[in-house]
């Protein structure tokens, strides 16, 4: 009987404590969400850079010029995607790269830069090394198809420049990429 009374008293004290902690915890989450959305400017930057690369056709262009521009834009917009912690090219990537090689053969004056990127999982030193492997395996494939090595430079950005800052498999898959651009 005495014991029950004690338990009752303890609960009386504990329940408001729990309620209080729960309401605190919720508030905390809200706070962090606000701060999380606010600062990082980096994704915006990458987005503007990407849109700069792709030129829009103008009214006075001939059908031929339009087609050439579309091919050039396709060359830059089609990324090569990788599995987690891998730099090997699957058959879909190899098809894309074969088309890129065709385009480079038709446009002999063009030099390209290949950026290697990673998702945010793992750690940034290792991802910087992995990004280079991805860019290099992409380059090697093009060179094997007969493109002159001097026309292709590579740079690794590791996990530092994601296209999608989401924290889910969909976003990560988009970020594990090699991106070709014409500087």
């Amino acid at each position: 009987m005495r014991k029950k009374l004690w338990i009752g008293l303890v609960m009386l004290f504990l329940i408001p404590v729990f309620l209080f902690t729960v309401s605190c915890a919720q508030q905390e989450v809200k706070d962090t969400e606000e701060t999380a959305t606010e600062p990082e400017k980096a994704p915006e930057e990458t987005a503007t850079e990407a849109s700069k690369e792709v030129e829009q056709p103008t009214e006075d262009m001939s059908a031929e010029e339009r087609a050439a521009l579309a091919a050039r834009n396709m060359f830059m917009s089609e990324d090569i995607y990788f599995e987690f912690d891998k730099s090997t090219l699957d058959s879909m990537s190899q098809d894309i790269l074969s088309r890129k090689a065709d385009w480079m053969r038709d446009n002999t004056a063009v030099v390209v830069s290949i950026e290697g990127h990673c998702d945010e999982r793992g750690t940034n030193e290792y991802n910087l090394a992995l990004g280079e492997k991805r860019a290099e395996s992409t380059k090697s494939f093009l060179v094997d198809l007969g493109i002159e090595a001097y026309r292709i430079s590579t740079v690794s950005y590791g996990e530092e420049r994601p296209v999608d800052t989401g924290q889910n498999e969909e976003a990560w898959a988009k970020n594990r990429r090699a991106h070709c651009l014409i500087p």
Binding site: P39, K41, A42, T123, L128, A129, R161
Partner: protein, 435 residues
């Protein structure tokens, strides 16, 4: 009862390691039992009428600075049996029973005189059981030096209790995105006074301190690709390692103007030894695959590094003179970011398991890994304090990545500082003794 436990405590310690008569802090796991310490509000020195807020502020700062080490349990001033600002400085005037009875094993009393722009501060550390003064110091200087004086006294206290000078002159470099770019910042060991070190609007990563604290080496995309910059902290001297490919994550050789870093100009990512001005001395790893993130043993004879030579990234140790390589980590498929303890016996690292990064520490002899962070999203980039007692790391436990501190045993995890943006890649500096 308490006296008995203290005696027992003293008996278990190997006397050879002691600086003091006996060790107050068990260096094998000092955080297992925190020492209860009382720090009453300082008194005004007899010749001055220093105001209470000033006394309060100074004694609070001392209390916070000592608490940061993780060694102490700060006793609540509300339980003290004397009035604030009346704790005497002289041994015979102290009623040690007042302190023993509230559970204090150590007591610090202080006297302060703040006149115009000069402060005089006297500080004393006492063993309450023995009724004995352990440390007594007097400091005098401009008012702006208060923090410096308090840190100096803390250093004396820790030296007396542990035999080493602690962390009070050390700094922490890290990356912050607050400006919209990834720039290097530097703050004091306790997060005080963060200042921007780089301002190039590029991506800057992996800061590394030279042993003399005069240089920071880091990776930067200033010229559009990852190169290593070696920059003087005070002064304009700088060098660049800009080989073809990546120039990644430098690590200074302890006590020398040389560093190790990953370069990929040969077509393979290998670790090289370089001079402090960026000239290659020799190649340190030769296996095919990524060899990255070197960290030196304190004697400079070995490096631990990450390699994916066996398929997944794991940590290896290489003896530089014999060339012998041993694998250190076997649990999990992704172990990276090793940092060798300045005490030499342990390596902390990041392990990716089930999609989450956590910090581990492994004893080099036993090879038994111990997990230090749990259930708090991603925890990365561990970096030892110069005395090997604490670890700085980054964590996304509150959403954005920020810098946190914990003890070498994973206890007392707390945020180091709050800044706009995200912070990561913390690197704790060596100690400087002549500041």
């Amino acid at each position: 009862m308490k006296i008995i436990s203290l005696v027992a405590f003293a008996l278990f310690i190997t006397p050879g390691l002691c600086h003091a008569d006996y060790d107050y802090i068990d260096i094998n796991n000092p955080f297992l039992r925190k020492i209860p310490i009382a720090i009453p509000v300082f008194s005004s020195l007899p010749d001055s009428k220093t105001k209470k807020p000033v006394l309060q502020k100074a004694s609070d700062l001392l209390s916070e600075t000592l608490e940061f080490t993780g060694y102490f349990k700060m006793l609540d001033r509300g339980a003290f049996l004397i009035d604030p600002g009346t704790a005497p400085l002289i041994t015979p005037k102290i009623n040690f029973n007042n302190w023993v009875s509230i559970g204090a094993e150590l007591l610090i009393t202080g006297g302060l005189s703040a006149k115009e722009n000069t402060i005089v501060m006297e500080l004393r550390l006492f063993d309450t059981f023995k009724g004995k003064r352990l440390v007594g110091k007097k400091y005098e200087g401009p008012a702006g030096d208060l923090r410096q004086m308090i840190r100096r006294f803390c250093s004396e206290v820790i030296y007396h209790l542990t035999g080493n000078r602690g962390i009070f002159n050390s700094k922490i470099a890290f990356i912050s995105t607050g400006s919209g770019n990834k720039e290097i910042y530097i703050c004091d060991f306790d997060g005080y006074s963060p200042k921007r070190f780089t301002n190039n609007k590029s991506i800057n990563l992996f800061p590394a301190w030279s042993s003399d604290l005069k240089y920071i080496a880091y990776t930067s995309y200033l010229k559009g690709k990852p190169d290593i910059y070696i920059k003087q902290l005070k002064g304009k001297h700088s060098s660049v390692i800009a080989q073809k490919g990546i120039n990644l994550a430098p690590a200074w050789v302890p006590g020398r103007f040389e560093l190790a870093a990953t370069l990929s100009f040969s077509g393979d990512q290998d670790i090289y030894l370089l001079t402090g001005t960026g000239k290659i001395i020799k190649r340190l790893t030769r296996k095919w695959g990524s060899d990255i993130s070197p960290t030196w043993s304190p004697d400079g004879k070995k490096i631990a590094f990450v390699s994916n030579r066996a398929g997944s990234p794991q940590i290896y140790i290489k003896n530089i003179s014999s060339g012998l390589v041993e694998r250190l980590t076997f649990n999990g498929q992704y172990n990276t970011q090793p940092d060798w303890s300045p005490r030499g016996d342990k390596i902390t690292y990041t392990s990716l398991q089930e999609g989450i990064n956590n910090i581990f520490v492994v004893d080099i002899k036993s090879r038994q890994p111990v997990q230090l962070t749990f259930d708090s999203r991603n925890n990365e980039s561990p970096s030892w304090s110069p005395d090997g007692s604490l670890i700085a790391f980054s964590s996304t436990r509150e959403g954005p990545s920020r810098i946190y501190i914990m003890t070498a045993f994973g206890t007392d995890q707390r945020r180091l500082l709050f800044l706009h943006g995200e912070q990561f890649n913390p690197k704790w500096s060596p100690n400087v003794n002549n500041e």
